[in-house]
Every structure is written in C-alpha cells, then in structure tokens.
C-alpha cells in the first residue's frame, strides 16, 4: 500500500537534489519561466494534483509550480518511472508525494486516488498524463467542487477526454498540451527516438550496425526510433497498417513489410504503435532464434505477454532489463523491460532538453489556468493559446544561443512555410 512520503532519508534527498540540479541545467526554458513565476507568485492559493511520470524532469516542473506559490500533491501514474531520489527531494521540499519505483498496477491507482485526496477541499488544478487522474475525477466529481481546470499532455489522453466531453460528462475545461509542433517533433520524435535506442543499448550492449531492426508503427515515435536506429547503422524495417504511412516509410529509405514478414527477419523488434496486441503468438512463432523484443509505445500492452509465456519453456535474466525466454521449440527470445516502455525502464526516459519544451508548455498552461485564465474557457477540451508554442520555442532558441529572423507580422502561430509547388 501507498502512503505519503514523510521524512525521507537525508542521503536520498541529497541524491535527489543533485539529480534535480543536473536536470535543471538542461532545462533552460523551464528555468526562465520559473524565475518569472517566482517573482509574480501567480499560483498563490492554487492546489495542484499532478499525475505525470515522476522523473527528475518532472521534478523541475514541480519546483516551478512550487516557486509560483501553489500547494502541490504528485504521483507518477505508472509502474516504472518514479525516481525515488527525486520523490524524496520533492517530499522534503513540501510536496505531498505518493508512490515509488516498482509499484504494482493496484498501487499506481491507489497513488492517483491519494494524490487527488491530498487536499481537504480537493485540488483546484489537475495536471494529467493519459487522463488517468481526470478519469478518476469524473468518476466522482462531487468530491472536487473547487476544481477549475486540468491539463492533459498525451494524444491518447486527449482522445479519451474528448470522448467524455462528447458524452456530456466533462464539466470543467481541459487544456490539451499535446497538439503542438514542438511536442510532436521534439518530444516524441527526437526525445523518444534517442531514449529508446539508448534503452536498447543499455539493456543489451549489442552492436546495432548491420542488425535488422523492425519498428512496428511509424507515427512520430516510430519515426524517431527508425531514424536513430538507422543512425546507429541498423537496417530498419517498418511494419505498419496504413498504406500512406508505408509509402512514407519507403520514401524515407526504409523497408516496409507486414508485421508477420518483418518478424521473420528481425534481429530486434520494437513496438511503437500505441495499440494493444501488436505482437501476438503468430508473430512470436516466426521470430528467429536470438531475436530481441521490446516496446516503446503504449504502456505494456503492445506485446502479448500471455502468448509469450505460453510458448516459454523456461526464462531467466541474462542482464538487467533483459530476460531470456527459451521457447518450447528451442528458440531463444530476449524480452527487454518485461515489455514495458524500454526507454523509461532501461534508460532514463526522454532527455531533459526535450522535456524542457514539453513541460514549458505544460507550465505555461498551468500558470494561465491558475492565474485567472481558467474561467475564460468553457467546459470541454481546448488547445493551448495561439503562439504559446512559438513563445516556448523562442525561449529555447535563446537558451541555445541561436538567433533567427524576426517573424513576419502578424505571426499566426501557424507555420505557413508550406507552399505551392509542382
């Protein structure tokens, strides 16, 4: 069972502070917003319940909200991502923190519940990831009468919230900080692309050059994984269901195959689709001896673990994050991170430089909602204001020392650089 972290060990707190400092160095946009928010104290009086992977990067976001004057309760919302040192440092700093690395799924849900319940009169703002916490709120709305608004940072989460809005269940506004250029390209493509390959390297130590690397799915995440795997010299094969996507994959220089045929030749197979059940028994039956299996898509469901267990004679850990399954037919399959997100489990999740941009949008949305902005939005799902993403990108460029042209006035917030051409 989960309870609020009280009096964390001093050495854990210290280690957490070091991690937070090292993250802050790489998150200059959050730092610039934090400085402004610490001066304005614009979240004074707000109570925030947050449910986003409790990594060091998230810790920097939490510190910003704290500096802006809010009271805060937080939980990671998943099994593997919580960094205990960061949790300790935040708890020491006055945040009500729930959860630890390696929770059971039941404990994860319990953490969400406790984080919502941390304030006697409930939160005024909810910051969510995957709509887990918003879902809990909607299951019992009467308990949170003072809730002003929420933010949601994932595609899948926004989709779910929109469905609830269509069903008339949503009685507060939700800002989606997901449909942003920077989010798609920076976070999903470049962030997850690198951290997934990093996770595979740490878990396996294998040479990627010359390996056949199958990516299932070719959305932003799939593309990011493909470009980085190719960057390490792998021969990338894309398996996807959309013909338009397959054409794009081919033109980008990759092979495009059905999942079944791709599985037959995979040295490494990585799922990145956002769907459950992408790799089933049929595919497991085709994978060659020695293949490495992992997932960087949605939660733990993309690889059918039940089907894998059913085919397994015996299994044992070969290295940290890597378990060898010797199948009844003698083939060996190496499953990474138990099918969970390999970039969070075996590596460190997305690099701080990337989360800097995503969380800056999250922070600006929270600051807007908490400093009087929430009442401007009717119940329903809304995009972040026009120009916010561009503002975040400007801050990022400044931090990188990059100077570009000033925008044409009036800048519409929409990248109008596409143009007609044969």
């Amino acid at each position: 069972v989960i309870s609020r972290i009280e009096e964390p060990p001093a050495d854990l707190v210290r280690a957490g502070r070091d991690l937070l400092e090292s993250a802050r160095d790489r998150m200059p946009v959050l730092e610039s917003i934090r400085r402004e928010a610490a001066a304005s104290r614009c979240l004074e009086g707000q109570r925030i319940s947050g449910c986003i992977h409790l990594t060091r990067a998230t810790g920097v976001l939490v510190e910003l909200l704290l500096a802006a004057g809010a009271q805060i309760a937080w939980t990671g919302g998943d099994e593997v991502s919580t960094e205990n040192e960061v949790a300790a440092a935040l708890a020491d700093g006055g945040v009500a923190v729930f959860g630890h690395r390696g929770m059971t799924t039941a404990e994860v849900l319990e953490g969400v519940e406790l984080t919502l319940g941390a304030f006697p009169r409930g939160p005024t703002l909810v910051l969510d990831n995957g709509a887990r916490m918003i879902g809990r709120v909607l299951d019992g709305p009467s308990r949170y009468p003072e809730l002003l608004a929420a933010t949601e940072k994932t595609t899948e989460g926004s989709r779910r919230v929109r469905a609830w809005a269509r069903d008339g269940r949503l009685d507060f506004p939700v800002l989606s900080v997901n449909d942003l250029v920077t989010k798609w390209e920076v976070d999903n493509t470049y962030g997850t692309g690198q951290s997934t390959v990093d996770g595979i390297l740490r878990a396996t130590g294998m040479l990627l050059a010359g390996k056949r690397f199958v990516v299932c799915g070719f959305g932003h995440v799939g593309r990011g994984v493909a470009v980085r795997a190719a960057g390490m010299g792998a021969r990338v094969i894309v398996a996807c269901r959309s013909a338009a996507t397959a054409v794009r994959a081919r033109l980008a220089g990759y092979e495009a195959l059905s999942t079944l045929r791709a599985a037959e030749v995979a040295d490494i197979l990585c799922t990145a689709t956002g769907y459950a059940g992408v790799i089933t028994g049929r595919h497991l039956d085709r994978l060659p001896d020695g293949a490495v299996l992992c997932n960087t898509g949605h939660s733990v469901t993309e690889i059918d673990l039940t089907a894998l267990e059913a085919r397994t004679e015996r299994s044992y850990p070969v290295r940290p994050h890597m378990r060898r399954h010797v199948l009844h037919d003698g083939r060996r399959l190496d499953l990474l991170s138990g099918g969970r997100l390999v970039n969070l489990d075996a590596a460190e999740g997305n690099p701080c430089e990337v989360m800097d941009v995503t969380f800056a949008n999250q922070a600006l949305a929270a600051l807007l909602l908490g400093s009087g902005g929430a009442k401007e939005f009717p119940p329903g799902v809304h995009e972040v204001p026009d120009g916010q993403d561009e503002q975040v990108a400007r801050r990022k460029l400044t931090a990188m020392g990059v100077r570009i042209d000033t925008p044409y006035a009036p800048l519409t917030g929409h990248d109008r650089m596409e143009h007609d051409h044969e």
Copy 2:
C-alpha cells in the same frame, strides 16, 4: 500571342508520345485508374479546362481524363514548365492546348483565358493549380453557367479560394487535393527535394559535398531540399522565421541561422519559403564571392531580382540555366534559372513516381465530381473524401510490390499511429 496548337509537327508529336510512354511507365497508379475509367467512360459529356504545369506527368493525367470520355482544354499556367513535345502529342490527340515553353507572363494569362474559353458553353469542370483559373472564373462567373465544380492542388491556391469563399464570391464547390499525407510527404518533400538538388547539379555541375548549403524555409519543401542536400554531403544551414521550425531544424541536425548570417557563409543559397522578397539587397550585399543563388519556392518572387540587377556591373551566361552576375564591388554571384523554379527549369520537375500519387488524387477527385458527385458538395472548399488518399497509397504499394498488414477496421483515413508517451 497565344493560339490553340493546330497540326503540330509529326516529329514533335512522336517525341511527345515517347516522353508520355516513359512517364506512364513510372505512374502505375494513374495507369490503374485509367484502365478503370476507360471502361466506365464516366466523364462522358464533361468539358474540362485545366491549368497545371504542362509536363509529361500532367500529360498522363490528361490522357486519363480523355480516356474517361471528357473533352479537354489545357494550359500550363506558368512561364517555364510546358514541354512542347507533350503539348504537341496532346494536341494531336484532340486536346485543345494553349501555350509553349518560355511564355511571357502576359502570354501565360492569355493562355488561361483561352483555355477557359475553348468550349462555347464553357467548362463543366476546372482543374487548377494556384487558383489562377478559378480566379479568372470568379472575375466573370456569368460566362460559365454550366461549371459544376473545380479542384485545386496547392496550399497557396486553397488559401486563396478559401478567402474568396469567406467573401461570399464562390458559388461552386472546390475540392482541395492538397491537405493529404501523400501530397505533403511524397510530392513536396521527396519529389521537390530530389528535383531541386537535381536541378542544381545540372545547372552547376558543382560538388555538393563539403559545401555550405543554405535553405531558406523549412516547410515540407525546405525539409526535402535539406535532407537531399545533406544526402549529397553538403553542410546544410536552415534560415527560417518560426522559432518552432528553427528548433526542429536544429534537432534534425542542421544549423539554424538568421537569413542575414546564413547568407554570409553560403556557398549555395536556395529559397523555399513560399513568400516573396526573402532574399533582398541586404542579403545580396553579404553573400560571398562565387555564391550560387536559386529558388524552388513560390514562382519567381523569392529573390529580389530588381535588387540584384541594381548591384550588377555586368552579367553573362556561364552554362545553361546559370548566369553570372559580376557586382559593382567585384563579387560574382551565379543565379540559376533566372530565379524561377530551379527544379522545373534546370531539371524535369518532380519525378513521375511522385506526380503519380498527387495526380491520382487529382484524377479521383475529377472522376468523382464529373460522374455525378459535384452536386453532393455545396459551394465552398472541401477536402477530398476520407480514405481516398489511403486508397491511392494502397494502389501505389501494390505497384511497388509492397505488402503490409490490412488496416484495423474501421480505418478512419487518419493515421492514428501517434500515441502517448513520456
């Protein structure tokens, strides 16, 4: 002055037929649609006025429409792209063709006028590029009482048509065949990317490896040019006005600079923004001696040619498509294709494999509108029907011999492969 091409020379017709055959080989999707349309004759009775670059690829589209039973009048709608051989072959096949390679801007407009006027009772369908012909229609709508609908294939053109719709001037439906995955990635990125680099190679013969290659603009076209220039070993620098775009350019591995600073170090500078006046006198004053200047963006307006002339002591052709400007200060700048689209002027425009996909969407839209579908759409701008782009991509994969998984039912026509992820 322009007049309908009558009795074209037999050798020109023969050369045009060869060009059309070589194009047809690389356009299997259009070919598959043509076979079906030739059987159904679903455009019988339609009169089509078309205004799209008159290349061999467009010729294959025109042949398809002809095979479907339509009467056709056509003009290229720009100064440089018309292939006289193709014009001759189409004229010989019964199409009313207007214009030739190397028209003046006045002649281009005259060609549009004549193509609209080629049928006594006016066209029933208009196929447009950049809204040039639709604009002419709206200037005098009473002359085309039987016009059912139009299609428009560019971003800029769709934008203009939407503005007219907002102003209440548009009294017929326009299908925009532009906001399609395949169009953006296939045509703009991969097609224009290759043909622009191809044009530069043909015009200059220079080694790209190790050169500083500045791309102004980083939309789909700019990105395509960047990836191909880097693929030839150039050191790519992106100049753009949107901070979010600049962040993307940096993460993609390119340098991002202001146009002014980029100009200072450019060995080659290529505009791809879709805006006029991107390179002005200020930039020309900074370019190093020997720099190559070209444009693959919008028409001829991206480089300020007046400013260039004002700085030019003397100029002379060095090679086909390349004119050397010796400036008053002694620097030499080599302008390609007179600042017109270098991929159309110095190379062959986008490869047929690419236009196959774009024109397949164009053809399906025309077949839909002309076989009773036009009355389903109210006046205004509409997207092509859900799933059409995916259908085109499926046909393309079949032609390429690529087999992928069947889609999840129901496929929404939207690539749902993005997903939530830290």
Copy 3:
C-alpha cells in the same frame, strides 16, 4: 580517322573558353600552382604527351602545363569523355589535340599513337591514365629516346606498369599519383559517387527515394555510389565477392547479397567493380521488368553487352543516354549510356572541385619530373614524394577558407591518427 585539330570554329573555341573559365573557378589549387609555374617557367623545353579524359577539368591542367613553358600534345584516351569545345579551345591555344567525343575504339588507339608522335623527337614526359600510352611506349621504346619519365593516375594502370617493371621492360621512372589519401577519398568516393548518381538522375529522371539500388563492388567508387544513392533515399544493396568487404557493407547499413540475388530485386543496378563481365546472362535473366542498368566502373566491359543483345527482341532510345531493351521474354531493361561510364556520358564526370585535387598532384608530379627531378628516380614505379598530398590538401583548405591546427613536427606524411583501443 583522327587528325590533329586545326583551325577550330571560333564559336566552339569561345564556348570552350567559357567552359574552362567555369572550371577554373572551382579549381583553386591548380590555379595557385599555375601562378607559381607561370612565374618559374620550370617546364621550358619539355615536350609532354598526355592521355587523360579530355574534359574541362583536364583542360585546366593542360593550361597549367602550358603556362609552365611546356609544349603539349593531348588525347582523351577513351570513347566518350572528350568535350569538343575544350578540345577546340586548347587547339586554338597551341596544343596539339587529337580526337573528339564519340570516337570508335580504333580511333581512340589511333589518337594515342598520334599524340605520342606529335613531336619529331618524341615526348620528354608522358602523362597517362590507365597505362594506355605507357603501354604503347613500351611496345616501341626505341622511338622515344628522350623520354625522361611518366606519370600514371589510376590503380589499374599502376598495377599494369608494375607488372611491366617486374618483367624488366620498364626503362624509365613512372610516378604513380594514385595511392594518395586525397585521390581515394576525394576523387573516387566523393567525386565519382556524386557524378554517378547525377548521371543516373539526368539519364532517367526517376525518383531514387524508395528504390532498390544495387551497387556491384564496394571499393572506393562503390562506397561513394552507395552513400550518395542512400543520400537520395534509395535502399542500397551491395553485391561483392570479398567477405571482409561484405561485412563492411553490412556494418555501414547496407544489405549485402550475392550478385544473383541482388539482381532479382534491383530497381537500379550499377556496376563499380573494375572487373569485366560482372553482369552476365545469368544476371540479366533475373532482373525484374523495368530495371535500369548502368556502369561506373571499368570502361564498358562490366556489363556483358553481347549477352544483353542476345536476349533483346528490339531496342529503342527512350530518352538521351537511355535505351530500352525489350527482351524475348517480354521484360524491359533500360540500359544507360550503352554500358559506358554513366558519370562521364550522362553527366559531366567528376566535379571540378574534385579533379582540382587529383590534378594538382598530377601537376606537381609533372613539374617535379620536368624540372630536373626525373633523374632522381631509377626506372620503376614510384610514389609521389612524401608530403606532396598533404601540401595539396593544405592548399585546398586555404581555398575553402578552412583553418585547422598546424601539424605536429615532424609530419611524416602518414596520417598517424589511428590508435590503440579495445
């Protein structure tokens, strides 16, 4: 039959001068050597017979030798590379030039003979490519009593000269300007890599992105073609005979297959091995319908044209440099440049920036030999002096505006940057 070019047409001369000027702009190293040689006149009294592809780049080398005070006779030594305009301009400048574009093989040999015989007492220096001219000299050495030395610029040529030296037939020194870092990487890899892809683009106009591109051979040329084809988005497959090379190809991210299996899936197949008979009837029988065939390796012999003719029902030109062979079994194969070097025939050979480096080594070798250095070398094959290649590279960097560290003294001429490491 061939004869010395006399009184070439003025417009051809003028066009040749323009080509030479445009080449000179891109050959700053040769230009810097030319200035020094024009001051020292160090080749005064020398008679040079040259046999190197007569392109504009070679023309700039010839001008340098002329400026240094030598008398010169020249021939291109192959069927396709002679640029008639350049030949005219050089002839007008006092060089004895033999040959033209499109010679028969017999005429090529005749040109070599005449160039050797252009001086009553024979040449004092021979500049060779492929050992064609040196071979002729050795067949009748008594005719060239005043010959001091020769240079040879190709691997294959050096190999042949070394064989003659082992047989005791070589009675003068030959400087091999081939085993140079800059030659391998700059000329063969980057030069031929780009010009081969350029030739294929010009000859076919096809989209390379997504195509299966087979390269036969993975020496410096093969690697250059592979990296550039991949840079244009092609899916590259390497066919080679050395296992060590195949391992390298796989680690570089390419597929490695036997030639037979590669042929089965080729959209484009390009030979780059330096061997004859690489593509035989067995391979032609496997190529898919519509495949494009070309050669950038050794002369015209890599593809067995006799075997192709034997399988051809009819053939006709589709575009310049591209001939369609309709085989007895109905398949169509498109042969580029008649199997000759596609980069020289359909494009412009290696870019001038690249030949600048190769020819600078050639020029320095000739200046050394012709200004008293020849007597320092005994008969046999010799490398160019230590440090010459580094000197050429320094000049190149200066011209590019690149400044690097000064070398450690004493620099050995050997790149000692390799080091021990696990």
Copy 4:
C-alpha cells in the same frame, strides 16, 4: 598490491558465467573456432600469458584458448576495463587471473609482471595489447627462454614493437593482428563509434540531437564517433592536424576547425587522436559553460587533467561517470570517466559482435603460432597470413546468414575492388 585470484565468491563466478554466456551468443566466429580447437587440442603444452582488457569478450577468447589445451595466465593491462565477474569465472575455470576493476597504474604494471611470472619456466606465447607485456619481456629476456612468439593487437603497440625490432632488441617473432580490414572498420570504426556514443549517453543522459559535438582526431575511431554522433542528430565538428584528413572530414559533411576554434563552440568534446595532450589549458580556457569533456582515444592522456585541476575551484560528482568542475572563472565543465576511455568506463567497451572478429584473428594467430607455426617466422614483426582476415569475415557472414558471391580465384587477400576511373 595484486595477487592471483583464488577461490572467488560463488555468486561472482555465477554472474561471470552469465556474462560469458551472453557474450558467447554474440560471438559466433569465436564459437566456431572454439569447436574446432576443442577437437584438435592444438595448444596442448602451450603456456600463454595474456594482457588484453579483461572484459566478457576477452573472456570468450580465453575460454577458446583453454579449450584448445593451453595453460593460461591473464591480466587486463589497464585501470578500468576488468570485469570482476568475468575475472572470477575464469579464475574458477583454472586460469591464473591477476587484477580487478579500478586498479592503480602501479597495480596494472604489477599485474603484467605477475602474469608473465605465473609459469615457472615462463610463457611460450604472449598475447598483447599496446605492447605493454612485450616491453616487459624485452626488459629481461633471459627470464623467458621458452617464449616462442607473441601477438599484438593495436597500431600503437605494433609501432613500438617495430621500433624495438629496428633497434635489434626483438629476438622472437610478433604477429600483428592489427593491419586488417576487419580490425579497422569493424572494431575501431563501428565498435568504438557505437560504444563511445553509448558511454556518453549513459554518463550524461543528454539529448545529442542539435548539440555541437567536437571530435578531435579523424582516424578510424574519430570517424566512427563522428558518424554515430551525427546518426544521433548531433552537429559534428572535426578538429585535426592533417590537411588531407580535414578535407576528408569536410567532404564527409562535417565542419573542420582548429581545436581552439572548435573548443569555443563545443557542447560536447571527445578526443580520439591517440596522442597525449590534445586538450590543454588553452582549450579549457575557451570551452563554453556547461561543456562535456571526454576521451575515447589513447589511455587517459589526451586531456591535460593537471591543467583542468589548476583551473578548478571545486568539483563534485553529478552522476556516475560524470564529475562537474566549477572553474575559477565560474564556468562549469563536466568531465566524463575522469578522462579515461569513456566507452570502457561508462559503457561496456566495444560490443561483442565486433570483438568476435578482432579476437577471431587473435585466436587464429595464437593457434597458428602455438601449433608449430611460430618457427616459420623469423624474429621481427609480421602480418597475419594472407587470407586469414577474409576467412574470419566468411565465418562472420555465415553466422549472419549472409551469402555473397564466391571470390574470383585466386583471391589475393587484398581487396582488389578499387579501380581506375576519372
């Protein structure tokens, strides 16, 4: 002080065996040689003293030699690479093992001494890395009267041994297993390239995309690091002293700068030259705040740590393998792995797939020397026999399931695929 590992803890032995198994899976060439050697027992009676980084990959080589019947003593020969688990497992298997992870430099030397002295009558074969052990042998040759021969696996080591041979000090043959195609490209370029980037990712967790990544040196290692860093999206800058190398770097698409100017813009700076004192106080004075410093070249000497300490106000560990130096002027520099080889310290050294090829050559050389071959070689440095590298590559391809053409007979062991070309 160091002593032979006796009775290692059972759990360490077990962990070592697991590591060896996981390595063996990725080293199929060694495995195929081991099977043959275990049958022939061709090293029966030989006593081998080895001095090569004691990683799991080396462990697989040791097991092979053991299976062939030899008695073995081993030490890692450096400070950081010994995997204690592997050392334990080998010790448990009967090998005389000396040393552990984290030795002092004095202990490293002591380990070499003890390994040579492990056999009363001295070794019959020495397997060396960097000529450390051979150097000790030459300091006191009378002690090893039965020594037949040695092998040396690095460039630098071979260079040192050749110098001793020139001085007349070498009285036994040494096989250099270094000048091999597979060694250069496979081990140094692809192996070290990946493991260096892997080490940087593990030590820093930073996003590489968009970072300025300076590589000092552009030999095989430097090139491997450059290509992999670029593959992760970094903007690579090469600093080197050879102009020919700088030209190659530019043509490969990288920036080339002097070390001083490169240092000024470095986000990450990685030395890979093989020289000492590459980064001195002058460079440290220019590095920007927040720069990351690391070394993957020669030992620990490439970065002048004394100069760094002299400028350091205070330093503290931020993460494992990363120490932050706050300089007197306030700038912060993050040094990875204390300036030691970052790929061995922060990651796992070169991947087993790569060491499979290098060690296969090592193994074949040892088997040859130990089964009667040593007496075929006079004292001095020799290359491994013609064709051995090709044989290793063939075995590797077989293990990868790659089939290529059979070689032209007679294969010379030299890749003759280079060819003449303009």
